[in-house]
């Protein structure tokens, strides 16, 4: 807020009190119309805030048991207390739930490590692939004395995170290939990439998921079947890769042709030119839209609910279909909305930070 203070406000003489008064004057009460608008806004905010706080905190029951919920008019947070394991792990066998817990820690830990630019190297990609294999073994079991757990029992937040992180990890390289292909000089390669991108961008994600769940089994030879989770995952990857490819292409188009020509003049090969000259500049330009594609990928994982996978949203739906909790649907949806919100908000803030970081020292 302090940045909002205009320069004419005395910087040294004024107390905090006086400064805030002058801030209020310039930002809220500069004219009669502005004052009226401000008062209306304050009224609206007060109404919303008091309703939300009243429901979620003041009039809510925080006890762990549902018995006390009858007495309160607000939220009954016993819902979360009773269902959190179900929301986190879905129908994973109760005694084995330490395994998805490890998976969640691995995924979140991996994301936090990957966010740090110090760790950016080809080894990070190798570490991720090893990490995915380890995670698959931990979740699926069947070897090393771990009990076998079919992927139909993976669920809740674990499944949502798997779909999102694996989706991002594979959609990004695929998008890069598609973007390069679309800008390639080989006509046939270009046509294939254009058709792939435009088809996936032209249809809703749900139709891609229907295709993966209903139609894809028909494409396989007799006796071969691919896990439904994997099919949905591939659908998500293809769909988002098409969007991401257009983002990357935009970045490549924004690089002046002088850069391409200079690289050619230096005698660099195509791959050297792309990996050393063009892509480092192009990808830096498109950090914000790339991140918003990742955010929509994360949000869109919720669509697998429709084709019958048991992600966070589906788990919540199942939890509030339980007769005990039928009245607590608002608590359920608000709670997981907060989870989704935290992840997405965090990602968007990270995008802003990264964009600033990457452009440090770029301007003269």
């Amino acid at each position: 807020m302090t940045t909002m203070i205009p320069s004419q406000a005395r910087p040294t003489g004024g107390s905090t009190m006086r400064r805030s008064v002058s801030w209020l004057k310039t930002n809220l009460f500069s004219s009669p119309t502005n004052t009226v608008i401000s008062l209306i806004c304050i009224y609206i905010l007060w109404e919303i805030l008091s309703a939300v706080v009243g429901w979620a905190i003041v009039n809510a029951s925080f006890s762990a048991s549902k018995e006390f919920c009858g007495d309160v008019s607000g939220a009954c947070w016993a819902f979360v207390h009773d269902n959190y394991r179900f929301l986190l792990f879905g129908t994973y066998p109760l005694d084995e739930q330490w395994r998805p817990l490890i998976a969640i820690f691995m995924l979140v830990g991996g994301i936090l490590i990957s966010m740090n630019r110090r760790f950016w190297s080809p080894w990070l990609a190798v570490a991720w692939i090893v990490g995915f294999v380890v995670m698959y073994i931990i979740l699926g079991g069947g070897i090393l004395g771990l009990e076998r757990v079919s992927s139909t029992n993976w669920g809740g937040l674990t499944l949502t995170l798997i779909l999102a992180v694996v989706g991002i990890a594979f959609a990004a390289p695929l998008a890069l290939i598609l973007a390069l292909g679309r800008r390639s000089e080989m006509p046939f390669v270009r046509v294939i990439c254009v058709v792939f991108i435009e088809v996936f961008r032209g249809v809703p994600l749900i139709s891609v998921l229907f295709m993966a769940s209903l139609m894809f089994p028909l494409f396989l030879p007799d006796g071969v079947s691919i896990d439904k989770l994997l099919r949905a995952q591939v659908g998500i990857i293809f769909f988002q890769a098409a969007y991401l490819a257009e983002v990357f292409r935009g970045g490549m188009q924004a690089i002046p042709s002088g850069q391409y020509e200079a690289a050619d003049a230096l005698g660099l090969s195509y791959w050297q030119k792309m990996s050393k000259i063009i892509l480092p500049q192009a990808l830096r330009l498109v950090i914000p839209p790339t991140m918003s594609t990742f955010i929509s990928l994360f949000k869109d994982t919720s669509l697998v609910t429709i084709i019958g996978l048991f992600d966070l949203l589906a788990a919540t739906k199942a939890a509030i279909n339980d007769p005990t909790w039928r009245q607590q649907y608002i608590e359920g949806y608000v709670f997981i909305a907060l989870i989704y919100f935290c992840f997405c908000f965090f990602m968007s803030r990270y995008a802003l930070y990264l964009d600033r970081e990457m452009h440090k020292g770029m301007s003269h």
């Binding site: 909002m4 930002n27 809220l28 500069s30 502005n34 608008i37 401000s38 806004c41 304050i42 609206i44 905010l45 000089e185 080989m186 006509p187 046939f188 390669v189 294939i192 435009e198 088809v199 961008r201 032209g202 249809v203 809703p204 994600l205 749900i206 139709s207 229907f210 295709m211 209903l214 139609m215 089994p217 028909l218 494409f219 396989l220 030879p221 007799d222 955010i295 949000k299 869109d300 919720s302 669509l303 609910t305 429709i306 949203l313 739906k317 509030i320 649907y329 608002i330 949806y333 608000v334 997981i336 909305a337 989704y340 919100f341 997405c344 908000f345 968007s348």
Partner: protein
């Protein structure tokens, strides 16, 4: 690497391998072969699978009786109608909810977008909070939430909420009053269309006159007068009917008026609230893209504030706004397919039922993918045309 190098000439085969064109042809043949083989393999698998499972192929099922009901439809439909008609109902329902959603989301999004550049800190704060909250929560979750709230949270028909006279909110949807049946309304509508055409003709004529004589004709206010005035005049000519068709409780439900089903209402609400956040950002960036110097220069040339807005700022802002805006409209249309989760009978939902009944998944998916692809292509064609028209003509 250079194919003209003398040592390469002695090994022509190797030289060929290093030739750029030859390489590119080899790559393309490999890619083509891979794609062709994959396609052939998948198609042959589909054929064997379909033969084994005794599923018919082709679009013959479109003529067969659908024998399932559809809760709401713009055109006449009964379970005896065929699948083709059912799918048409779905397409029309998709268009219905998308168009209404686009109009509402544009209005709300524009208002919030203007709020985001307001001088008032509180207005900006409310706008930003709205965007952060609704943008960072999956649309499907929002739809489930609104649907649960409407079907469980709202009172039954007998205790209906009555926020405005004649308007009722119940767990069976929203009931709105509409003007009663009267031939006058048809002619008012005709007058409205005539008014719009008249305004356009007037605009053309006034521009021509401006270029010929330099005289300014207030075509905007006069045009607006025609568009609004003509229908009102027609309405008065017909004796100014004011009778309204107000929904009224009869037996177990409301009769009369306009009824929005809970599914339609939920979908409309969800799509509007969600897409408005994106439209607001588009509008904000459009407004901020016009440098302040433009309006200052225009003022110093002596143009009135309203002209500055209309002739200098808006055309430049719209050039930035329109392309991403059409993208959002397209997204809204595609997102309307989430209705399958709450049971609003739009295209994907009806295709889904059709696929379950006939087992013809390939055809079902093909139909709705074609429809959506068609809509996307139409809109991108429009976009290209628009971009060409609006592109800066530089010397």
């Amino acid at each position: 690497m250079d194919s003209k190098h003398p040592s390469d000439a002695s090994r022509p085969l190797m030289a060929l391998l290093y030739d750029k064109t030859v390489r590119s042809i080899i790559y393309q043949v490999l890619v083509f072969g891979g794609v062709f083989f994959l396609g052939w393999y998948l198609v042959s698998n589909v054929q064997t699978n379909l033969d084994e499972q005794n599923i018919a192929t082709g679009f013959g099922f479109l003529d067969r009786e659908a024998s399932f009901g559809i809760s709401e439809s713009v055109i006449a439909y009964s379970p005896e109608s065929n699948y083709g008609r059912a799918l048409l109902v779905g397409i029309l329902n998709t268009i219905k909810v998308s168009l209404t959603g686009i109009i509402l989301a544009s209005i709300i999004g524009t208002l919030i977008g203007i709020g985001l550049v307001s001088k008032n800190w509180l207005v900006r704060f409310i706008g930003k909070t709205y965007i952060d909250v609704f943008r960072n929560v999956p649309l499907l979750l929002q739809l489930f939430f609104w649907y649960a709230l409407i079907t469980n949270g709202l009172p039954g028909v007998r205790q209906a909420l009555n926020p405005l006279p004649g308007t009722f909110l119940t767990n069976r949807g929203l009931y709105l009053p509409i003007p009663a049946d009267n031939p006058a309304w048809f002619w008012v509508f005709i007058a409205f269309i005539v008014g719009i055409i008249g305004a356009f003709v007037l605009r053309k004529w006034s521009f021509k006159r401006l270029e010929a004589t330099g005289q300014v004709f207030p075509h905007l206010s006069v045009g607006l007068g025609i568009v609004v005035g003509l229908p009102i005049l027609t309405w008065l000519l017909f004796g100014a009917p004011i009778e309204m068709n107000v929904p009224a409780l009869q037996g177990f439900n409301f009769q009369g008026g306009l009824n929005m089903s809970p599914e339609f209402f939920t979908l409309l609400l969800g799509l509007t609230v969600y897409t408005a956040t994106y439209i607001a950002e588009v509008v904000r960036s459009g407004i901020q893209s016009v440098p302040k110097g433009q309006s200052e220069a225009s003022t110093s040339l002596g143009l009135k504030p309203s002209w500055t807005m209309r002739l200098i700022v808006l055309p430049q802002a719209l050039r930035v706004i329109i392309p991403p805006l059409t993208n959002q409209y397209l997204n809204l249309t595609k997102n309307s397919s989430l209705a399958v989760a709450i049971g609003y009978p739009e295209l994907v939902s009806i295709s889904n039922t059709t696929m379950n009944q006939t087992g013809q998944a390939v055809e079902g998916v093909a139909i709705f993918m074609t429809v959506y692809l068609g809509i996307s292509l139409l809109i991108s064609l429009f976009m290209n045309w628009y971009n060409k028209r609006m592109a800066l003509v530089e010397r």
